[in-house]
């Protein structure tokens, strides 16, 4: 088969243009019954598409030498000016979106995305895709807060889960793809572990970072290595650097002890960190002094039987307050249910629901 077999099949000369390719294809298509002869049609179609691609390529090569001739088709100064103002308008809209982010609660993000896209469509036809690029940029460079919520709202809005969408986005698409794939691996882990990880990362965004979290940098580091794109979405700008630096300042002994920490300790530490985090928040001026987790809480193991006893109306261990206990029980509930250590019956479910509903 020669390099230009398609020209031979369509009976075209080497100087054929797009118009003659179309004409040759049309004549042959009319001669066959394409619905009844799929094989003949497929062969004709292959030749046609190859020929079209070939003449377009040839035409491009010729265009390069006669570029001056096409100057007449260039946009006028007025058209260019109008376009520039549209682009400026779109850029303003996009920046307004970024500015509106901090004040927008998570549940309103989809509507904000929809509104912004709707306004951009009126500016000029490609504006929504410029917006899409810009949005991925701010997600990648971490210059906005609450990136995880924004990311998942954007997945739905821009249909990033659709075939082929990410390919069009080039490098940015590759990053989105990495996040989505890492998330799948993340979802493959036990629910209780994922829950603990997410809580850890979300807690670390509190300013200043709760002291109890600092020794857990090793876990965070592990997550950032295993799920680099996905895990970092949960950490706001500066959180990673601050965490790492404060961890480096810890005394050696404290740093070593935390390595290879068993899972339940992670859970417990998190649990212990909760009230601290709350007390340190600036909107809770009643805080008298930073409270450190009581040492006994670290040695106390919250196993499924203990959690079940509490759920069934027992009281909380002395070291932990009721609110802390409630959150911890909720945290381990998924794992205990799945492992079969808790009966999956109505009384347990009702008790869990009641616990969840408590303020």
């Amino acid at each position: 088969m020669s390099a230009t077999w398609f020209l031979e099949q369509l009976d075209l000369p080497a100087w054929a243009d797009a118009r003659s390719v179309r004409r040759a294809y049309a004549a042959r298509l009319k001669a066959i019954d394409h619905e009844a002869d799929p094989a003949g049609f497929a062969s004709l179609r292959r030749a046609y598409e190859a020929a079209l691609a070939w003449v377009e390529h040839e035409a491009d090569a010729n265009d390069a030498t006669v570029a001056d001739a096409s100057a007449a088709a260039a946009p006028t100064a007025e058209e260019q000016a109008a376009m520039v103002s549209h682009i400026a308008e779109a850029a303003l809209l996009i920046e307004a979106f970024v500015a509106a982010l901090p004040a927008t609660p998570d549940r309103d993000l989809p509507a904000l995305l929809e509104r912004t896209t709707a306004s951009l469509r009126q500016a000029y036809v490609d504006a929504p895709s410029v917006f899409e690029d810009r949005l991925i940029d701010v997600l990648m460079d971490g210059s906005v807060q609450r990136r995880a919520s924004l990311f998942f709202a954007a997945v739905d809005h821009f249909r990033w889960n659709e075939l082929g969408r990410l390919k069009e986005l080039g490098e940015r698409g590759a990053w989105v793809d990495a996040v989505l794939v890492q998330r799948l691996t993340w979802d493959g882990r036990a629910a209780i572990q994922r829950g603990a990880w997410t809580t850890l990362l979300v807690q670390a965004n509190r300013r200043p970072m709760p002291a109890e979290l600092v020794p857990q940098w090793t876990t965070a580091e592990f997550l950032l290595q295993t799920f680099p794109a996905y895990a970092s979405l949960f950490l706001d700008t500066g959180a990673i650097t601050e965490w790492k630096e404060r961890f480096a300042q810890l005394p050696d002994a404290q740093r070593r002890r935390k390595k290879g920490m068993p899972l339940y300790l992670v859970v417990l530490l998190l649990v212990a960190a909760f009230p601290v985090g709350r007390l340190l928040l600036p909107d809770h001026p009643v805080a008298t002094s930073p409270v450190h987790a009581p040492p006994q809480s670290r040695t106390l193991k919250l196993d499924c039987p203990t959690a079940l006893r509490y759920l069934r109306g027992g009281s909380a261990p002395v070291a932990l307050g009721d609110a802390v206990m409630r959150r911890s029980v909720l945290l381990v509930s998924g794992g205990c249910m799945r492992s079969g250590e808790w009966p999956d019956d109505l009384t347990v479910r009702t008790a869990l629901q009641r616990l969840q509903a408590e303020p």
Binding site: R22, R23, Y25, A26, A27, L29, K30, H34, E35, P38, F41, A42, R45, E114, A118, R121, Q122, V125, P128, R159, N161, E162, L163, G164, E168, L180, V181, Q182, L184, T185, G188, T226
Partner: protein, 573 residues
């Protein structure tokens, strides 16, 4: 004779290719639009069309509409004592259209080209074909609605080279297709759509607004007769807003009148969400066809809902031009179906015309993928036929087992655009036994063949042995087995469709009965009187008497409606 049928959500039409051009065929009442409504009459006969639509309000338990929305879902609607699937109800509409065509053409009609929304799934297409079968029509060819519209449009543009977009917003579905026309070839470049978006949704917005604004009790929603009346009023209001800035209606419920008014601004505001859903399919079709909106030579409107001024305004804004309105958007799809029927009959007048279509969605199977950490995650979508591939098409991909010693391979078939199969539509599955051995030994070739009707065939070949497997376990709830089909056919054959020659009288009566329920006071008595006399006339079977009292009743109805008695607010205009 082959006819072309537009089996729509709200209306259906039939057309034929005669004397070198498409011709619409009127029904027994002389209308080309037959409402896609079915009702069981008191004597057990089936009423189709306007009479059935009137009876939706007077006998909601015996009547059905909008069933196209349930095509291929297995969902049933109860009429009287029996449940009907959407295929069966559609087949009754088709039977009525077939009778109209036979009366007009003076010969038997046993084959039809039926149009379906481009974005109709495999199950929905199969159900449409079954509906044809149940109506005694051979349906060799299903045609995508926007493609049909393009055929009708292209017929008038013979010889011209152009790229154009068909914007088809019907009663229940939205489709967009981009076509290229050259040298008599009409090539669909890309199609996209939304199966659950149509003119009916705009009427529902009004119904919703009525419940919010009129202060009526929410329990009124449970009253089927009231809901049918309200939907009809909402539809009427929607149409009025096409020609004027403001419209209102009054509707009684449990003896209490409720009024509702709306202007075009409020209507548009409430429809914002629906309008924004029109963008996505258009953006996708343009992207897939690799065409910029500015490069389109024309925009063709199809579907009755494109009459709405807000939809026209949106189209004008989207494409920076006024859409082509040379063809009646209600009729253009049926006209195109007739052109396709002509093509199928190899009519000499269409010798120089060929049309090629695409598969509007991606078809593929489910695969596992190895992750960075060595784990295997399943549920990834592996496309075999990519969306907007020209049809007919046949593509083959090779897959293997995930571990050594595996004994069977599960080939699940999906339709959709998501990277994960859980977000796509499952079409069926095949279990293929393989000899346990190494991963390489267990390879299978999966071939997908998609024909011009949009129907899919799957064939799996075990590479080592050459054994082939075809049997696809369909999603059983959705498709009828051959036995079930036979039973349904037998049951449907027993149903008698109301004879054409007396349908006009029957429709007039249904219209009168519907009005009677809405009226109060003297006009109600006056109408009741006319209905009674007409009933007696019908019983006498004396043609002259029937005609006399029929036109008397018609006059009463016409006067009542014209005086706007039903619409007190309109009378103020």
């Amino acid at each position: 004779m082959i006819v072309g049928i537009d089996l729509g959500t709200t209306h259906s039409l039939v057309a034929a290719w005669t004397d070198g051009r498409p011709r619409l065929i009127p029904n027994a009442l002389g209308d080309v639009l037959t409402p896609s409504c079915v009702s069981l009459d008191d004597d057990g006969q089936v009423l189709v069309g306007r009479a059935a639509r009137d009876r939706l309000q007077t006998h909601p338990q015996l009547s059905a509409a909008l069933f196209k929305r349930y095509m291929g879902s297995g969902k049933t609607l109860r009429l009287g004592s029996r449940d009907y699937r959407a295929e069966e109800l559609s087949s009754l509409v088709l039977r009525s259209l077939k009778a109209d065509a036979e009366a007009a053409l003076g010969g038997p009609v046993d084959e039809a080209v039926i149009t379906v929304p481009a974005y109709f799934s495999d199950a929905q297409r199969k159900a449409t074909r079954v509906a044809g079968q149940l109506a005694g029509l051979k349906v060799d060819r299903l045609l995508n609605e926007p493609t049909a519209a393009a055929l009708a449009y292209g017929l008038h543009q013979a010889g011209a080279e152009s790229q154009f977009l068909v914007f088809d917003l019907g009663g229940g579905t939205f489709d967009v297709s981009i076509l290229e026309m050259f040298e008599g070839v009409m090539e669909v470049r890309a199609s996209a759509g939304d199966n659950m978006l149509g003119g009916e949704d705009f009427a529902l917005v009004i119904v919703q607004a009525f419940f919010e604004d009129s202060g009526i009790d929410a329990t009124a929603r449970q009253d089927p007769a009231f809901m049918q009346r309200l939907t009809a009023r909402a539809e009427q209001l929607k149409r009025q807003l096409t020609g004027q800035g403001e419209a209102r209606f009054e509707i009684p419920w449990q003896g209490q009148p409720y009024t509702f008014a709306m202007d075009t601004k409020q209507f548009e505001k409430r429809c914002e969400n629906l309008l924004s859903r029109l963008w996505r399919p258009i953006e996708r079709a343009l992207r897939d066809a690799r065409i910029r909106a500015a490069d389109l030579d024309n925009v063709v409107l199809a579907g009755g809902a494109t009459r709405m001024p807000m939809v026209r305004a949106l189209v004008t804004r989207m494409f920076g031009r006024f859409p082509a309105v040379t063809l009646n958007p209600d009729e253009v799809v049926a006209m195109g179906a007739a052109v396709q029927a002509g093509l199928k009959m190899k009519d000499a007048a269409l010798d120089e015309m060929v049309m090629t279509d695409v598969c509007p969605y991606t078809l593929g199977t489910s695969v596992s993928r190895g992750m960075d950490d060595g784990s295997l995650v399943d549920g990834f979508y592996s496309p075999i036929i990519e969306r907007n591939t020209i049809v007919p098409v046949s593509r083959v991909h090779r897959y293997g087992p995930t571990r050594d010693g595996q004994r069977t391979i599960h080939i699940a078939i999906y339709q959709g655009e998501s990277r994960m199969v859980r977000d796509n539509i499952p079409l069926g599955a095949l279990q293929v036994p393989i000899a346990p051995g190494s991963i390489a030994d267990g390879a299978v070739d999966v071939r997908f063949t998609y024909d011009a009707n949009g129907l899919l065939e799957v064939e799996v070949t075990v590479v080592r042995t050459g054994e082939q497997y075809h049997t696809v376990v369909e999603n059983s709830a959705e498709a009828l087995s051959p036995e079930q089909l036979g039973e349904r056919l037998a049951a449907l054959t027993e149903l008698k469709i109301h004879p054409r020659d007396t349908l006009e009288n029957r429709s007039l009566m249904a219209h009168g009965e519907r009005l009677y329920e809405q009226l109060l006071g003297t006009s109600r008595d006056q109408l009741g009187d006319a209905i009674l006399r007409f009933e007696q006339a019908l019983a006498s079977q004396d043609g002259h008497v029937v005609a006399k009292h029929g036109s008397a009743l018609y006059l009463v109805i016409d006067t009542l409606e014209r005086d706007g008695f039903l619409e007190p607010a309109l009378a103020d205009r």
